[in-house]
């Protein structure tokens, strides 16, 4: 039973070695405008995407999108809207009533409207999920074409926890009717800046 039995069984039963295939990434390359494609896909997956002229407009924009919100956590230097401070030592359960979290997006992926965020960007792992609304600040230069490129670009990171997040949480489990807002954040807004 257990490890040794499993490994022994595999060794006895596995076929002759088949080499791993060479992947020709050029087969997937397309002439596309990554920014336009990214914006289209974010909208397709139920996210909101807004291009800002200046980093200085972040807070104004967020205030206009969420006028009545008071419980805000900001994990980005560019926003001063945070009303609640957290650290790695905060009990994640205490974030239950957070209304808005503002987090830095590291990389956007045009083919699926996803943004890579990681533990570098927010101190408590549950934050982007437990918050009611989530806003990501993404530099529009940090958008790549597809996941193959994305994995190259995030390949050198310190690996703890990270995710590709594409749009707000959603489900279609009730008669295939799409409902935006399931267990995670009810909405996702991406503010594109140009630094």
């Amino acid at each position: 039973m257990g490890r040794d039995a499993i490994l022994k069984s595999i060794k006895n039963n596995k076929p002759t070695l088949i080499p791993s295939p060479e992947i020709n990434l050029e087969s997937f390359e397309e002439e596309i405008d990554v920014l336009t494609a990214f914006k289209e896909k974010v909208a397709l997956v139920g996210g909101t995407i807004i291009e800002l002229d200046s980093v200085k407009n972040i807070d104004t924009k967020i205030k206009s999108l969420y006028p009545n919100i008071s419980k805000i956590i900001s994990c980005v230097d560019e926003s001063q809207l945070g009303t609640i401070l957290i650290s790695e030592k905060t009990d994640p359960h205490k974030l239950e009533s957070i209304e808005l979290a503002i987090v830095k997006g590291e990389l956007g992926v045009a083919e699926n409207g996803a943004v890579w965020i990681s533990e570098n960007d927010f101190p408590i792992r549950v934050l982007p999920f437990i918050t009611n609304d989530l806003t990501l600040i993404l530099n529009k230069k940090n958008i790549c074409s597809n996941l193959h490129e994305a994995y190259k670009l995030i390949g050198k990171r310190k690996r703890t926890f990270g995710l590709f997040i594409s749009g707000p949480s959603k489900t279609a489990d009730i008669e295939q009717c799409l409902v935006i807002g399931a267990q995670g954040a009810m909405s996702l807004t991406i503010l594109l800046i140009d630094n």
Partner: protein, 456 residues
């Protein structure tokens, strides 16, 4: 009861069959649209299949590499030969932490191991937090589809269930209202949970990390609130390198639901400070499947469900007709390996149309494996005497031209001259809903002799 009988019962309600069929065909069409959007889709499938073939041919090396890297990052790795061992390991972790409340996100492996009833018998509350799984849990049913567990339930049925279990007000099955009520209820469960159990979509050997994909965020809500996270995986979930996730994540959601990617693709490499992350690596019949040359590639499966959506039989019979944890085409080539007798009707629940093999993102030749299982089943599983005898006689007739002519003549004579009540009796399953062809005066052999006798 075999698939045919269950399917016949399902088909008594034609409106429901049409509804079920259309719902899943719609998902298949969404998959087609998403696939069209990807340049090089067929090549991507080829690559994915090749990666999986390499993995299976060196699986022990990759698993050892995975374990080593995961352990270095503070992850506790366990191994389970079978379902019982898996359940015991889960329970042991729970006991160590005095855990009484567990939240679970989608894991077909835990379904396969019947984990829920095992834990419940030990006095532990297990809540399935994927909305579809939650629905079937409170309905006391099993999932009928591996990605869309409650696809067989109408919104009115869900409404009734939620009224009973969540005290919701009647809403005619309003999906937004019901989803929101579930959100509130499940949120409390996440906040109170002692342990979170998830599945594993992909385990990366070179980093020792795992990826869990959801649309709802329920895996993460569970894993990041509870101090202990147990992730359960079959041995075949391994992929060699992180860059291979580019291939598989591009294929998975598109094949499953037609989305370009799931909302959340969470990469776990280290437990968070003060938390524990356990991974249980499970065999439960997989190494045995690995030994079967004809069926080995069924282990490529990434559990996308595309084969179910495209299967005209699955759409019209529903997942429960298969009576197997994993239903549909892939289930029909995995399950006989576990219990040939119990699942002997499954490889025959198919016309071998081949559509499943074409939509499979990892190019499992499902329809060919169905054909091969049939050959094994008739040899090893007791066949209905009538079927076996008739077919063996047919074999003898078809290899003997004289007998063949005789059989042909008799059949034609019978069909032409026998009274209708004899021909369309209860024994004639063909004739239940179909006419037999009108018999012409001569067969082709006779016509040829008369009209072309100089040739041949």
């Amino acid at each position: 009861m075999n698939h045919a009988k269950k399917a016949a019962i399902f088909n008594k309600n034609e409106a429901k069959v049409n509804w079920h069929d259309k719902a899943l065909w719609y998902v298949r069409e969404k998959r087609d649209n998403a696939a069209h959007d990807v340049k090089g889709w067929e090549y991507l499938r080829e690559v994915a299949s090749g990666i999986k073939a390499n993995v299976l041919s060196d699986l022990d090396t990759y698993l050892i590499e995975f374990e080593s890297n995961a352990t270095k990052n503070g992850i506790k790795v366990h191994w389970a030969s079978d379902a019982e061992e898996h359940n015991k390991i889960v329970h042991k972790v729970l006991e160590t932490h005095n855990a009484k409340k567990v939240v679970k996100s989608k894991s077909m492996l835990t379904e396969e191991c019947h984990l829920n009833p095992y834990l419940e018998s030990k006095g532990i509350e297990v809540v399935d937090t994927d909305l579809g799984e939650y629905i079937v849990q409170i309905a006391k049913e099993t999932p009928s589809h591996i990605v869309l567990p409650a696809i067989h339930k109408t919104k009115e049925e869900v409404d009734a269930l939620f009224q009973e279990h969540l005290g919701t007000t009647p809403s005619n099955g309003n999906p937004e209202y019901l989803t929101n009520e579930a959100r509130k209820h499940l949120r409390n469960k996440f906040l109170e949970a002692d342990v979170a159990i998830t599945g594993v979509n992909f385990a990366v050997a070179e980093t020792g990390g795992i990826v869990v994909c959801t649309n709802e965020g329920n895996a993460d809500m569970g894993a990041h609130l509870a101090p202990v996270h147990i992730a359960c995986m079959g041995i075949e979930k391994i992929i060699p390198k992180e860059e291979h996730l580019g291939v598989f994540l591009r294929l998975l959601a598109r094949s499953a639901t037609g989305q370009p990617i799931t909302t959340y693709s969470s990469h776990f490499n280290k437990p968070s400070e003060g938390s524990e992350l356990h991974i249980i690596i499970v065999d439960n019949g997989r190494t045995e499947q690995l030994s079967r040359e004809d069926f080995r590639s069924s282990l490529h499966c990434i559990r996308c469900g595309a084969c179910m959506n495209t299967c005209p039989i699955y759409r019209r019979s529903g997942g429960h007709s298969y009576d197997a944890t994993i239903p549909g085409p892939i289930g029909s080539i995995l399950s006989p390996g576990k219990d040939l007798t119990k699942h002997s009707s499954l490889p025959f629940a198919s016309t071998l149309c081949g559509s499943c093999s074409n939509v499979c993102p990892v190019k499992i030749n499902i329809h060919e494996q169905l054909y091969k299982w049939r050959q094994l089943i008739v040899k090893d599983v007791k066949q209905p005497v009538v079927k076996k005898t008739v077919l063996k006689i047919v074999g003898k007739v078809l290899r003997n031209r004289t007998l063949y002519n005789l059989a042909g003549k008799s059949a034609r004579f019978m069909l032409k001259y026998a009274p209708r009540f004899m021909v369309y009796s209860k024994l004639n399953a063909w004739g239940k809903a179909r006419e037999l062809p009108e018999i012409k005066n001569e067969n082709f052999d006779t016509w040829y002799k008369i009209n072309r006798k100089n040739n041949g």
